[in-house]
């Protein structure tokens, strides 16, 4: 049996995720493109995990981090956190505005028209 290398497995994941991305995102209407962009900003904040992994993992065979490396990682953590927290919050704020307003508490039956149903 041939076992795929880590590289080819990762490449397969990349290609599949890319296709999923194209399919999902091509269904999003123009109206929601700004929230889409700020939402994807939050999603690429996943880079935070990279910084978290590196910040204290002896198992990758890292030597002790010197002050410079620590500074780099803290910067990456800060930016990643800003991306995730800020991105999701601002997207939430925006999307709330797209809701039909008359009764902010109870959505559902009250909302008129709209072509989209839950799939």
């Amino acid at each position: 049996m041939i076992l795929a290398s880590v590289l080819t497995t990762n490449l397969a994941i990349l290609v599949l995720a890319g296709f999923v991305g194209f399919i999902v995102i091509s269904k999003i209407p123009n109206t929601l493109h700004t929230p889409l962009m700020s939402g994807t900003n939050a999603i690429h904040g996943v880079v935070l995990l990279g910084a978290l992994l590196l910040i204290g993992l002896p198992e990758i065979g890292f030597p002790k981090l010197d002050a410079f490396s620590q500074a780099l990682l803290v910067i990456a953590v800060i930016f990643g956190t800003i991306n995730i927290v800020g991105g999701f919050l601002v997207t939430d704020r925006m999307l709330e505005m797209f809701k039909t307003k008359p009764k902010p508490q109870e959505q559902g039956e009250q909302e008129p028209a709209g072509k989209d149903g839950k799939a």
Binding site: G39, H44, Q70, I82
Partner: protein
């Protein structure tokens, strides 16, 4: 994930953490699917947020040396900066905010790769996969960071939004690119053990290229640039995933990369210009703005007063508002909604026609109108709006220019020839709210303004709309 010397409990087992990652990316994708419509979108975003939270927790569960202080400092600063910014940013400033977020993601990816380089340089050379992904992530991250900062400065009007060009620009950029490729090649061949100075040079070149590649791009092309930088950042994150072997980074990076790429292509299509033209054409730079063929300078332009326009609007049966960047600049979205309310009170049907590249980022106008409570159903895409104009009494153009320019349909010599436009000229009457007769960002004359059914209402968009509202009220 390699071995796990410290894993003693189930919670820290690799499989458990990996399962959490799988749940996380499934939630992120499911959340994105929610964005198909405004009703499901709020929950969708929260689902994606939950996914991300699970991913962060899972990562913190991993056995580590426990540099908790560093993590706490970073997260705390991030929250302190990020939360108030997200709560307070004005909707008109969303393009700037997204530009900054793109830059932050790129910078984080570049910082991680720089750190990894110093680990490699300090002795234990790595394998080819890590070297290639490391150098790519560093380059793309720096490009995205520097480019996003310039985009931010332009959008925030801290520097001119017009294209900045100089002779030999393409050659300089080409040389920098070649230098980057050369240094990257060296990096890969030596498996990341090149001199520190050379790597620093590589980073500087990538930053410089990021700056230089956005400088010549004009304000009206910003929707394309922001989308492209978005896709760059996604790519940088995905490549970082290869570098540190993290499936989640690869998947999320690929999703963002796909989204940014798709938006870039859509924006390019909406302008009918190939990406290369947007990026390298310095569209709307001073040099290329000779008056378009056929129109010899200022001609008969009718200027109307607010009272006349108010009467026209009040007695119409259907009015379409066509917002553009001018509405955002003047912060006029609430005034526009107030005018629409007055008209609807009188039984006038009000619709909004939104061009895909109106404003400074994809969907910019929609967000502003949603902010002022315009019902989602009244916002029409270009394809839905264009058939409506022929039965429309008044098309009210609020700070939009090039996206309404009929020269795009007919004048072959026009730089925007072939760009799909909103057919406002087909409406019985066209009212254009505009600050002055200065041409738009593209520097192209707009024959719409000289048509017999067009009147101009000069002034700040907000002031003009407010004047219209009170005039309609007084009728």
């Amino acid at each position: 994930m390699s071995s796990m010397p410290l894993a003693s409990s189930f919670l820290q087992s690799e499989d458990f953490i990996y399962v959490l990652y799988i749940i996380a990316f499934a939630l992120v994708i499911q959340g994105l699917r929610g964005l198909v419509g405004p009703k499901t979108a709020v929950n969708g975003n929260r689902i994606a947020g939950l996914g991300m939270a699970i991913a962060v927790v899972a990562t913190l569960l991993m056995p580590s040396e426990g540099n908790w202080a560093l993590i706490a400092i970073g997260v705390l600063v991030g929250v302190i900066v990020g939360v108030p910014a997200a709560r307070q940013v004005k909707m008109t400033a969303m393009p700037q905010m997204v530009a900054l977020y793109n830059g932050a993601g790129g910078a984080a990816a570049a910082a991680i790769s720089t750190l990894e380089f110093f680990v490699l340089a300090s002795g234990n050379g790595e394998n080819a996969v890590v070297s290639v992904s490391l150098v790519l992530s560093a380059i793309i991250g720096c490009l995205s960071f520097a480019g996003s900062i310039i985009a931010f400065l332009k959008l925030q009007e801290l520097m001119t939004g017009r294209p900045i060009t100089y002779p030999g620009q393409q050659i300089v950029n080409g040389l920098i690119l070649l230098t980057i490729l050369g240094l990257a090649g060296w990096f890969v061949v030596t498996l990341g053990t090149m001199p520190v100075l050379a790597f620093v040079g590589l980073l500087i070149c990538a930053l410089l290229l990021g700056v230089l590649f956005v400088l010549p791009i004009g304000g009206a092309d910003m929707p394309v640039v922001i989308s492209l930088l978005n896709s760059f950042t996604g790519l940088a994150v995905a490549v970082t995933g290869f570098e540190i072997n993290s499936t989640l980074l690869i998947i999320c990076g690929a999703l963002v990369g796909a989204s940014g790429t798709l938006l870039t292509v859509m924006m390019g299509k909406a302008m009918n210009r190939p990406l290369t033209n947007v990026l390298f054409g310095a569209f709307g730079s001073g040099g290329g703005s000779e008056p378009a063929a056929g129109s010899g300078g200022p001609q008969q332009i009718r200027s109307a007063g607010a009272d006349d326009v108010a009467i026209m609007l009040a007695y119409a049966s259907k009015v379409i508002f066509v917002p553009g960047y001018g509405m955002a600049v003047a912060q006029a979205q609430h005034s526009v909604k107030a005018l629409a309310d007055q008209l609807e009170k009188r039984g006038v049907q009000v619709l909004y026609a939104i061009h895909p590249v109106a404003g400074r980022m994809p969907g910019h106008m929609n967000v502003l109108l949603a902010e002022s409570n315009v019902p989602y159903e009244q916002l029409l895409d270009m394809e839905d709006a264009n058939p409506e104009f022929s039965t429309t009494d008044v098309a009210l153009v609020i700070g939009a220019n090039d996206v309404t320019n009929p020269a795009a349909r007919s004048v072959k010599s026009s730089p925007i020839y072939g760009m799909p436009i909103l057919d406002v000229d087909k409406a019985a009457n066209v009212i254009v709210l505009k600050r002055s007769m200065r041409s738009g960002f593209a520097g192209i004359d707009n024959p719409l303004y000289e048509m017999p059914n067009t009147s101009m209402l000069f002034g700040d968009a907000k002031a003009s709309v407010d004047a219209l509202t009170s005039a309609v009220k007084a009728l």
